[in-house]
Point group: C2
Chain length 326, copies 2
């Protein structure tokens, strides 16, 4: 299966790495809006092509994995590319997924291509955990905890504060809240009850640290609703202790069964990731396989992870899955 | 959706209970090989029908959930019923699944019905966890731990020893092994390294307890390959402390990503169940919904949980799933 990568940041490098670990996949080309000559791929011999030339590759790429940001890139890129290619993206702005879905579905249906949006781990594998949990335990409550892990969006928000040279924000689940839910309690938890936010900040010399701290902890939407700690560190410490992009979290479904709801049943899906973009990239590649198969069967339009039969994700033939994995 | 239950033991009562929690489902009838007049259902007003009369119900039942044992019941019942009804079963003899699949597929394909075998949590939700784990992390190792929970098969095996009045066997994962795998190690683990077996036994008065213990711990396949503890208790203690059927376990996929495999990624799917048969029954009902939908679309033959698109399991319309669960 010939895979194209559109965009070449952290996530794209994760996709590139994952393609190498899937023997039925090959990286056909990487498309970039930057100067193609400036990119150095991990995979030798693969062409780097200017984004404007992507139309020349119609017919040479089975599935295009679109690696852009959800804020401004993907809402434009994915429908545009779905008009020419089968596509997979990782659109993760939960509240705007229906609008993105509609735009991509329209483009794919008109072009007779197959698209899959909002893939990765949340949305993605966590969405699947929520769905399987809710159908297995219809009388129950869902809890999603994120972290401990780096939030790129929150880190960027801190970096925009005057006097901040660099920042890293960790989202941290509140251990007591997780423990209560794991034990089968179904507490009503506010935003503040579920997660704390740890910020590591490199400040410019002479910057007003108290003012930076105040601006962080009062920032609406990002920090105001959380217990937030701010720790000032040196640039060396940032480089040494906070260079990675770990993440993870848990989806917990806690429900009851029995004539009077007397039996407590808890389902938990948990990720502990050293590298968020590499794991996300690996999930995108697995779903690209399914998209290629749907396209080959003539199933067109926009899909999500909830529409994909699990066996379509695997390179292993179905009879072997039934014999050895079921 | 009109559901039939064929057989009426612990699992069937779990199915009956779950039907009540799914508002699109109704229990049409229960079929039994026992005297129908002797059964008392949890659901008032539902007919109890002799198994021999099941043919009279063709056309009145959308999906039949077959609640029999895997050793001798299901290999006969599921193909027989698939010749007349859409069916779901919980066949769990892993090594014989391909043969069972072939028999059910032949019957369902010939009759134009839809069947789904080996549903529940293992095989079932754990199979799905193994599949999603393996495709997300193609370079990695799988570990399945069961328990702490009651194994009915092992309890029954102990009960067949002369001098044993009652027995309950708990399968217990070795905490150190689970901890190593959770931390991202990929140790080679023998059967003995992964689980221990705890047996609680009520012995007849005057029985030779040392001989019972010896027969248990040396029993091939069931206990000989494990560290097994045997505790003799009174019938009252058995009734008081071991009446439930708790179970659970974990599927852990531990893999690496990155150019040199330098990033460790761990995915864990975990169940903590107060009632194994009620949870299993609830999963069977969710998959019965999908079977009914496949049948309505004219998709026939034998399926497994690996073939079912997750959205087909849910009562929630697809656009709402995309808006709120993805």
């Amino acid at each position: 299966m010939q895979i194209g990568i559109y965009g070449y940041g952290n996530l794209a490098r994760g996709v590139e790495d994952a393609i190498r670990r899937n023997p039925d996949m090959a990286l056909a080309a990487v498309f970039t809006r930057r100067d193609p000559a400036a990119l150095r791929l991990h995979t030798p011999g693969v062409p780097v092509v200017a984004a404007a030339q992507v139309g020349d590759w119609v017919g040479k790429i089975d599935v295009m994995i679109v690696c852009g940001g959800s804020a401004t890139d993907l809402p434009v890129m994915t429908p545009m590319l779905a008009a020419q290619f089968n596509v997979v993206d990782s659109y993760d702005n939960h509240s705007r997924i229906p609008a993105h879905y509609a735009a991509v579905d329209q483009a794919a249906a008109a072009a007779g291509t197959t698209a899959l949006i909002s893939c990765g781990w949340d949305p993605g594998l966590f969405s699947l955990a929520r769905l399987y949990g809710s159908v297995a335990l219809p009388e129950g409550s869902d809890y999603t905890f994120w972290g401990r892990g780096v939030s790129q969006g929150h880190s960027d928000a801190i970096r925009r504060i005057p006097g901040v040279l660099d920042a890293r924000q960790y989202t941290v689940p509140v251990p007591g809240a997780v423990a209560r839910v794991r034990q089968g309690e179904t507490p009503a938890l506010t935003t503040r009850d579920k997660h704390t936010r740890e910020c590591y900040v490199v400040a410019a010399e002479g910057a007003d640290r108290e003012e930076i701290r105040r601006q962080i902890v009062t920032m609406p939407a990002y920090f105001a609703d959380y217990d937030t700690t701010v720790t000032f560190i040196t640039a060396e410490e940032m480089q040494h202790s906070h260079a990675g992009l770990p993440h993870g979290g848990s989806v917990i479904r806690s429900g009851v069964t029995g004539q009077n709801g007397e039996h407590r049943q808890v389902v938990e899906y948990q990720l502990r990731l050293d590298s968020n973009p590499e794991f996300t990239g690996s999930v995108l590649v697995a779903f690209a396989r399914a998209v290629g198969r749907l396209a080959a069967r003539g199933v067109h339009g926009c899909k999500t992870v909830l529409d994909i039969a699990p066996a379509d994700l695997s390179l292993t033939p179905r009879d072997e899955l039934i014999a050895h994995m079921l």
